[in-house]
């Protein structure tokens, strides 16, 4: 669904995907120095992160599911 995986074995921790994501889905994990998916529900499937990642560590798929709506949430 949308952004699916940032492969920690490939990620070199350059931070490019973080600054490339227009909707702030990705953040750096300071402990591991790897990029992590923080807010996947806000992924707009634009592939900016994929296109700018120098080592092709990110997988984004075309499908996305939407949360169920109830009375108060």
């Amino acid at each position: 669904m949308a952004i699916k995986l940032i492969d920690p074995r490939k990620c070199i921790g350059c931070g490019t995907c973080v600054i490339s994501c227009p909707t702030d889905v990705i953040r750096m994990n300071k402990e591991t120095s790897h990029a992590v998916i923080m807010y996947p529900e806000d992924c707009q499937i634009c592939n900016m992160c994929v296109n700018f990642c120098p080592v092709d560590a990110i997988t984004v798929t075309a499908d996305k599911s939407i949360s169920i709506l109830t009375a108060w949430g």
Binding site: M1, A2, I19, S20, C21, P22, T23, D24, R27, N29, K30, E31, T32, V36, I37, M38, Y39, P40, E41, D42, Q44, I45, C46, N47, M48, N51, F52, V60, A62, D63, K64, I66, S67, I68, L69, T70, W72, G73
Partner: protein, 610 residues
């Protein structure tokens, strides 16, 4: 530039500390697919303004000209204001070159008489496609200056084949010009002060989406270049654009216009949320020059046919796609490809190059209007708003370069460049004549308190839930595509309830959600504007179709709809007539004056034959 760092303040309270460690833990666990729509709930990240200012470095900047938004318009505005010898600061909620609409555009309209472009032909094409609610002065400006701006971006290196991405060149240009750049900072508030009873904009406030510290920028002139926005609709890559500029400007008393026009991009039926499936083609080519103007606006025959069950007279063969210009009249078409046929609008596949080929559904940009025909209403040709100190440029300026429909490929990008430059000059000239702001620390603290309010609520509604309710209200085609009084009023009652009752209860657990909270509130302002403007314009024109008023009414509606907050805090709607000289020739019979037909139009006018 002056920078003040706030280091004092109480230590983190236990709750704030727990939140901070909790966040770190989530970062480890990668809580994919957890959050979603929690709706009304306890705010697990609740904190206080004091704790927030203790945890990060607050930024305070004083500058001459502040530019909000670093797309094509903002970058031109900043570069020109800097060239006037002023101190310039540009702030963006994302990173310049990777945010907003600009990275996706690949055509740039250039009017060039030396290449054989005919001025009269362009003007008449724009007027007809706009259905006469465009502004001919802003069109003149674009015709005069688009070539020079094209030469500028060429000189900047934006057109070179070896650039990683053309719009990254815009960021380099800011740095090269020593423009103070503040990125990943969500601007939420225009700062105002009263000088002798006159309210003036003196900068803006926001917060860093990384550190969450407040960012306060005091400025003599502020240029809103924050683009347009949608309701985070699926399939159009502008979900970071939520009409923030319009909402912020509206709240300080600025006049907003163009809200009844609607953009109607498509998305793929198979994976409607995927912008990449739809738009990957835009990345295959660089930015190319376009010299082409349409002869008529768009129609939504496919959507109308689904609603009425019958084809309309101007229907395109498939019945699925708008006739007239291509569905993505602003992009889609690769600049190297053959120019689209303005009559049929589509290539042989029925889709412009760069878009996916599967079944397409409408509504990818719901919430967006027509580029260059919505936003802050200018009172002069340099983009000044009715509030002193506030300027606007590009997609956030209701210049009415276009009117009720798109007018040609590439107008949006080149319009942003042209307008950015003139507005940069205008704001710089204004900034040179006024004194620096004198906002007190207490006043700044009050603005901060309001900005961080969702972080301080113990419980309330999540922005994601409110956004979803808003989308469910605004997305169905029968609200904004096929409009009718009772349905518009029904939607309006939900939207005003959300604004009045739910927005004051929005919560945010962290900086990311605080951004969403402000975006949600801004989208609701945009939704209310779209509904009120649509109700007010009791006719149909261009992309505005009222089922209950299915024809143009030139006696009443050769006019623009203006929205402004009244003394009671309610949204007031008025209209401003188009200058007589810009009206169509009313002696031409109606059906020839306007070639596109709306369902029910001829019957309504008593012109139906047979």
């Amino acid at each position: 530039m002056q920078k003040i760092t706030a280091l004092s303040g109480p230590k983190l309270n236990r709750r704030g500390f727990l939140t901070a460690t909790g966040l770190a833990a989530t970062a480890f666990a990668m809580p994919s697919f957890l959050a979603g729509c929690s709706g009304y709930a306890e705010n697990l990240g609740v904190t206080s303004v004091a704790a927030l200012s203790a945890s990060g470095e607050e930024t305070r900047v004083s500058t001459d000209v502040l530019v909000i938004g670093g797309g094509m318009a903002g970058v031109f505005a900043a570069v020109r204001a800097k060239a006037a010898g002023l101190d310039v600061t540009l702030v963006d909620k994302g990173t310049v070159g990777r945010s907003g609409a600009t990275p996706w555009a690949n055509t740039f309209s250039v009017f060039d008489e030396a290449e054989g472009d005919d001025r009269a032909e362009w003007i008449s094409g724009v007027r007809a496609s706009s259905e006469y609610v465009n502004n001919l002065d802003w069109l003149d400006q674009m015709l005069d200056e688009s070539k020079a701006r094209w030469e500028d971006i060429n000189e900047w290196g934006m057109l070179e084949e070896n650039v990683q991405h053309p719009s990254l060149v815009l960021r380099d240009k800011l740095l090269e010009n020593e423009i103070n750049l503040i990125e990943r900072t969500m601007i939420t508030t225009l700062l105002t002060q009263d000088d002798d009873g006159e309210r003036r904009v003196v900068g803006a406030m926001g917060f860093s989406i990384d550190g969450e510290a407040a960012v306060t920028i005091l400025a003599k002139a502020t240029i809103m270049a924050a683009g347009a926005g949608s309701f985070k609709a699926p399939g159009f890559p502008i979900q970071s654009l939520t009409s923030d500029g319009d909402a912020m400007a509206y709240k300080v008393g600025a006049v907003i216009s163009g809200k009844e026009w609607i953009d109607f991009h498509f998305t793929s039926a198979e994976n409607p949320a995927s912008c990449w499936s739809q738009w990957s083609g835009m990345w295959d080519s660089g930015v190319g020059k376009m010299s082409q103007v349409f002869t008529a606006g768009m129609t939504l025959d496919g959507a109308f046919a689904k609603h009425t069950g019958e084809e309309t007279q101007s229907s395109s063969p498939g019945g699925e796609r708008p006739s007239g210009p291509p569905p993505d009249a602003e992009g889609g078409e690769a600049p190297s490809g053959p120019p689209p046929d303005a009559e049929n609008g589509e290539g042989s596949s029925g889709l412009p190059a760069g878009q996916s080929q599967g079944e397409q559904v409408l509504g990818a940009a719901t919430g967006l209007g027509i580029h260059k025909a919505e936003g802050i209403w200018p009172i002069n040709m340099q983009g000044a708003s009715n509030i002193p100190g506030l300027y606007a440029a590009g997609d956030g300026l209701a210049s009415m370069l276009c009117g009720s429909s798109y007018v040609g490929l590439g107008f949006s990008l080149s319009g942003s460049a042209v307008q950015g430059a003139v507005v940069g000059d205008g704001a710089a000239a204004y900034a040179s004549t006024v004194l620096a702001p004198t906002l007190s620390d207490d006043e700044i603290a009050a603005f901060q308190e309001a900005m961080f309010a969702p972080r301080q609520r113990e419980s309330g509604f999540s922005p994601a839930w409110v956004t979803q309710v808003m989308q469910n209200t605004m997305f169905p085609y029968y609200v904004l595509f096929v409009k009718e009084q009772a349905r518009l009023e029904a939607a309006l009652s939900t939207i005003t309830f959300l604004r009045e009752h739910i927005v004051p209860q929005l919560t945010a657990q962290d900086a990311h959600e605080l951004k969403l909270a402000h975006e949600t509130a801004n989208m609701l302002v945009n939704a209310e504007m779209k509904l009120r403007a649509s109700l007010f314009r009791t006719e149909s024109r261009g992309t505005h179709y009222r089922e209950d008023y299915p024809a143009r009414n030139d006696d009443e509606w050769l006019a623009w709809v203006l929205l402004q907050m009244d003394a009671d805090g309610q949204m007031a709607v008025t209209k401003e007539a188009i200058p007589d000289a810009w009206k169509p020739d009313l002696s031409i019979p109606y059906v020839e004056r306007y070639v596109n037909r709306f369902p029910g139009e001829l019957e309504y006018l008593g012109l139906a034959s047979g």
